[in-house]
Structures are given as structure tokens and as C-alpha cells.
């Protein structure tokens, strides 16, 4: 069963990657932005027409779109995503180093939002109808409407400017070689961006957990546990959490898309040199190969989250696990 599922998933992924690659290639091709002009920037006046044409020829800009696509896609199949001119590196290299940096941030935000949201959801669910519940729900709804980047700015003003507890930017202290950066320094630079990014996820997981717990607390086995002398908190601890953790984890994995999108904003605010910032730069500076590469990578990233979310029941829930042939 699991193998079948995986085969289905991989076919699905292939079809998505293929279609997204076509769509995004078409999109960047119709852009009125002149890539050569974007590349050369202010020096545009300094270069001659002939020079410009030479660059265009080297980049193959004047060939028909489908020819360029086939070329690009063939290279893609060989694992080559082209060259990023803003970083002057291969796109694959840019993505891998930048993603490594972002991974710290996204993982931290993912864990924080998951745990915090889960705990708040439980408190809210057990105490539903009370003042505490109302407070938590109000908080969650507020967070859901708060612009991520603004929240980042507020945190920056508060903790970096006023209190001076946290650094103003970046992933590492300036002027220190990357290999000399300590784990503590990384964490220190991670706190605010991660807090900002985690805010996106908290509302969702809180409200979901709350509702699920309220449903579970109505069930017969909770009533039976109470009849055995369990308190409501005890019943939640021993039976409630067990029955809501899997859906919560599923939700959390299915949120990779928002996580990635949020990283664009959070990394911009904190000048955090991750993949999100690279996405923004690629868009702003018209680095087409990099932009296309990141688009495909983000599809893959989102897909991974969704697949794990789909598989998790099959792999973990004893009821489904036992039903599967060995």
C-alpha cells in the first residue's frame, strides 16, 4: 500500500513540476523587463549596441520561447539550472547554500509555532467558554490578520532598538568568517526572524487544535476516563493529546507553503541571507534562471510537506497501520 502511494505521489510530483515549469517559463518570458538591461543596470548607456546584441545572443534571448524552454528543461533534467548573475554562481549552488541558511530559520519557526499553537489550542480547548479561551482565541484571530513583515518590524523596534537584546540583522555577526560562527551566535541571530515567521502558523494550529480537542472531549472514552477518577486535565493529558496530536502534526506539515512564503517577508525585514531573500532579489533584479530555479524548488518543498502530511496517518496511526498488508 505504501509503495503504491509513493508511486502515485511521484507521478503527481512529476506532473506538477512539468506544468509549473512550463507556466513559470512562459510567465518570465512575457515579462517586459529586459534581462540584459537588468543585468547591466546603470551602465546600460556605456555599452554599445553591438555589445548588447552579443550578450543577447549568448543568452539566447532572441530564439523562440519553445526552443529556449526545451534547452532549459533538458539542462534541468541534467541537474543544471543555469547561472545566477546576481550571485555569480550556479543556481543549484545558490539554492543549496541559501536553503541551508533558511532551513535553520524555517525549522525553528515551524517547531515554535507548532508547539506554542498546540499548547495554546489545548489550554483553550480544555477551558473552552472561559475567559482564558476567549483571550487565546482573540489573540489567534489577531495574529491571523497581522502582516508578517510589520510584526517583524515591531519586534525589531522593541527588542533590537529599544532593549538591545537582539541583533539588528543577518544570520551571523558581521565581519566573522562563516566557519568561525558559533552555534550560540546562530541561535542569537535566529530568535527574532524565527519568532516573526512562527507567528503565521500559530493561529491556524491553535484554532484547529482547540476545535479537535473540544470534539474529543465529548467522546465516550473521555467520559469513561472521568468516571475512573481522571480530572479534565488528566483526561486531556492521557487520552486527549494522544487523539489530537496526529491531525495537528498533519496540519503543520501541510503548512510548508505558508512557511516558505513567509520566509520571503521575514528574511527581508531582518536581512537574513536565506532563500526567501534570494527569491526577492531574483525578482527585483530580474535574475531569471535563479527565479525559475527557486520556483521549482519551492514546489518541491511544498510537495514534501504535503506528502508527509498524507503519509503520516498510514505510517503512524495503529488503526491504519494494522490494516495494511505487510
Amino acid at each position: 500500500m505504501i509503495r503504491q502511494l509513493l508511486v502515485k505521489k511521484v507521478t503527481h510530483l512529476a506532473s506538477i513540476v512539468l506544468s509549473i515549469s512550463v507556466i513559470s517559463f512562459m510567465l518570465v518570458s512575457v515579462s517586459p523587463i529586459d534581462p540584459v538591461r537588468a543585468y547591466i543596470g546603470a551602465d546600460m548607456l556605456a555599452i554599445s549596441r553591438a555589445q548588447k546584441e552579443k550578450i543577447e545572443e549568448r543568452w539566447g534571448i532572441n530564439e523562440p520561447m519553445h526552443v529556449r524552454y526545451v534547452k532549459w528543461f533538458t539542462e534541468l533534467l541534467h541537474g543544471n539550472l543555469g547561472h545566477s548573475f546576481i550571485f555569480n554562481q550556479k543556481v543549484t549552488k545558490v539554492i543549496s547554500t541559501r536553503f541551508a541558511t533558511s532551513l535553520w530559520l524555517m525549522a525553528a519557526a515551524w517547531v515554535i509555532s507548532g508547539m506554542l499553537g498546540f499548547v495554546m489550542g489545548i489550554v483553550s480547548g480544555v477551558m473552552h467558554g472561559t475567559f482564558v479561551d476567549k483571550l487565546i482565541r482573540f489573540y489567534a484571530y489577531m495574529l491571523a490578520s497581522t502582516p508578517t513583515f510589520w510584526m517583524g518590524m515591531l519586534l525589531l523596534i522593541c527588542f533590537s532598538m529599544w532593549l538591545g537584546w537582539t541583533p539588528i540583522c543577518c544570520a551571523t555577526p558581521p565581519g566573522i568568517l562563516l566557519e568561525n560562527v558559533t552555534f550560540g551566535q546562530r541561535i542569537y541571530h535566529l530568535i527574532l526572524p524565527a519568532a516573526t515567521l512562527s507567528i503565521i502558523g500559530i493561529a491556524n494550529i491553535t484554532l484547529h487544535t482547540r476545535q479537535k480537542l473540544i470534539d474529543v472531549l465529548q467522546s465516550d472514552f473521555i467520559l469513561f476516563a472521568i468516571s475512573q477518577g481522571e480530572t479534565i486535565w488528566g483526561a486531556t493529558r492521557h487520552h486527549g493529546i494522544r487523539n489530537i496530536i496526529l491531525p495537528a502534526i498533519t496540519i503543520q506539515f501541510a503548512s510548508f507553503s505558508e512557511l516558505f512564503g513567509g520566509s520571503l517577508l521575514a528574511e527581508t525585514v531582518f536581512a537574513y541571507p536565506g532563500l526567501g531573500q534570494a527569491t526577492v532579489l531574483a525578482g527585483l533584479k530580474s535574475d531569471v534562471p535563479l527565479l525559475l530555479g527557486i520556483v521549482l524548488f519551492s514546489v518541491f518543498f511544498v510537495f514534501t510537506g504535503n506528502t508527509i502530511a498524507d503519509l503520516i496517518y498510514t505510517l503512524v496511526d495503529p488503526r491504519i497501520k494494522a490494516g495494511a498488508p505487510k
Binding site: I16, S19, I20, I23, S24, L27, V28, V30, S31, P32, I33, Y141, M142, S145, T146, P147, T148, F149, W150, M153, L154, L156, I157, M161, I168, S257, E258, F260, G261, G262, L264, L265, T268, V269, T279, V280, G283, L284, S286, L291, I294, V295, S298, V299, F301, V302, F303
Partner: protein, 283 residues
């Protein structure tokens, strides 16, 4: 016993009253905002180097920026712009959602398959990345933002509408109506539309906050509206450069106003939903 019933009814009436009151209040605020946007003098947008970096006071209640522009004017203009863009984008998105959702449910088969596949496709890419891509394709600017926000917000709502229509089609009275020989268009206009129209309305209002937040986000990172437009995203992105100077009002107030407007739309949408009461999810 009697008193109990009476108090309960009063509460019930009060609930309806609060719903209607909050709807009216929200609409009033939006109307006030639009009027302010039209009438507020452009003078506040002009550079005035004598009045630079003033913190909020009686004359400039939201302070002034580093060019001496009045923040209140900029924010009112910015919110109006957001309102306009949100309206266009949410309108288009909702239209697409309703059309595709309806087609998917009514035609089924291949059409359904293709539409579901499209929904899938749109959801496979992070929203903001998609927006960057589209904005890039459109060459940036307001056009890019509107197109981007309009064509990426429909999938969730389309899914809801598809499910809703499918469920409606399976209800007995529509089955009977079609057995009795009522034409498809007759069923459409008599049975489906009355359900879909409130969905459309509520769906659109609830899309607003998303549209506005994405517009602001996109402008903030520099892929959206051009730097000269008085938009909240632009204002905040500019104030990023002045964070270290201690001019907190440049960052705090515009964001708070944006949050306020988004929240207001949420409240409006939810109250209208409670009022017309269709089962609809947040887009």
C-alpha cells in the same frame, strides 16, 4: 419559565442587532475612509523640510516622515489604495472562483478533472512566490499586483463552491425538480443561484483581507507598487530604513492601521456570513 423565554428572546434579538450594527459600523468606517481619501488635501504629501520627523502631535496626529510629509495623509491615501486594489482583486478572484467552482460541479467529468488539477497546481506553489513570479511577468507596478492577487486567490473558494454545489445537486428537491423536467437553466436560476449569491458576497469580503495583506507584502519587498505611490507596503518598507533613528511612529502606526482595516473586513465578512448564513470557509 416565562421570564426565561423572554430573556432568551431578547438575547436572540440582541444577537441579530449586534450583527447588523457591526455590519453598519464597518460600512460606515469604509465609507468614511473613502471620503477622507477624496477630500484630504494633497498638501500633506508635499515635502516640507521644516517639518521633518515630527512625532505625533495635535497638528500632525500621526507625525511626519523624514521629508516632512504628513503621515496621516499618506496613511489615508495608502489605505484607500489598498481598498481599491483589494476590491478589484477580490472581485476578480471571487468571479473566477464561482465560475470554475460552478463549472466543475455542473459539468463534471473532464472539466471537473481539469479544474481540480488547476486548483492543485495553484496550491502547489507558495503564494508569495507565485505573486513574485506574476509581478515579474507583468513588469511590476500596480498592474502586476492586481493581476497577481486576482489570479491566485480563487482556488480555496472555488473548492468550497464546488463542494457546496455538488451537495446541493444531490439534495432531493433538485433531483425532483430535474425529474419533473425543469430545465438546467431553470434549476440554475431557481435553486442554485439563491445559494451561490450569498456565497459570492461573503466569499469576496473574506478574500479582501488576504488580498490586502498580499498586496502590502508584495509592495513591502519591492515587487509591488512603485516607490512613489502612497501605499502602506511602501510606507513600511521606507520606514525600515529609518528604524534605527527611533522614529517609531513611521512603522507602528501605518501597520496598525492596516491591521485595523484587515480586521474590520474580517468582522464585516463574518457578520454578513452569520446574517445570510451560508456555510462558507475562509478563503
Amino acid at each position: 419559565m416565562k421570564t426565561v423565554i423572554v430573556t432568551y428572546k431578547t438575547i436572540l434579538r440582541n444577537k441579530r442587532l449586534t450583527t447588523i450594527l457591526s455590519i453598519i459600523l464597518c460600512i460606515l468606517v469604509f465609507a468614511g475612509l473613502s471620503i477622507a481619501g477624496f477630500t484630504i488635501s494633497e498638501k500633506g504629501l508635499r515635502t516640507d523640510l521644516e517639518e521633518r520627523n515630527l512625532s505625533p502631535d495635535a497638528c500632525h496626529i500621526f507625525g511626519t516622515d523624514w521629508l516632512g510629509r504628513d503621515m496621516l495623509t499618506r496613511i489615508v491615501k495608502g489605505l484607500n489604495l489598498s481598498l481599491k486594489i483589494g476590491l478589484i482583486a477580490a472581485g476578480i478572484s471571487t468571479m473566477i472562483a464561482v465560475m470554475l467552482g460552478l463549472c466543475s460541479a455542473l459539468f463534471g467529468g473532464m472539466v471537473d478533472f481539469v479544474i481540480i488539477w488547476m486548483i492543485d497546481l495553484f496550491m502547489s506553489l507558495p503564494h508569495l512566490v507565485f505573486l513574485v513570479l506574476i509581478s515579474f511577468a507583468a513588469g511590476g507596478g500596480a498592474k502586476g499586483v492586481v493581476i497577481g492577487v486576482a489570479v491566485t486567490h480563487w482556488p480555496a473558494l472555488a473548492r468550497v463552491i464546488r463542494a457546496e454545489v455538488l451537495q446541493l445537486m444531490n439534495t432531493e428537491y433538485i433531483q425532483i425538480a430535474s425529474k419533473l423536467g425543469q430545465s438546467n437553466t431553470g434549476i440554475m436560476t431557481h435553486h442554485l443561484l439563491p445559494h451561490i449569491v450569498p456565497q459570492f458576497l461573503v466569499g469576496m469580503i473574506l478574500l479582501f483581507p488576504h488580498a490586502i495583506l498580499h498586496e502590502a507584502g508584495l509592495s513591502f519587498i519591492g515587487m509591488g507598487l512603485s516607490p512613489h505611490t502612497p501605499a502602506i507596503g511602501i510606507i513600511l518598507s521606507e520606514s525600515m530604513r529609518h528604524l534605527s533613528t527611533g522614529y517609531w511612529w513611521l512603522a507602528v502606526i501605518p501597520g496598525a492601521c492596516l491591521l485595523f482595516m484587515v480586521k474590520l473586513f474580517d468582522i464585516l465578512g463574518e457578520n454578513i456570513r452569520d446574517w445570510v448564513n451560508p456555510k462558507i470557509l475562509r478563503g
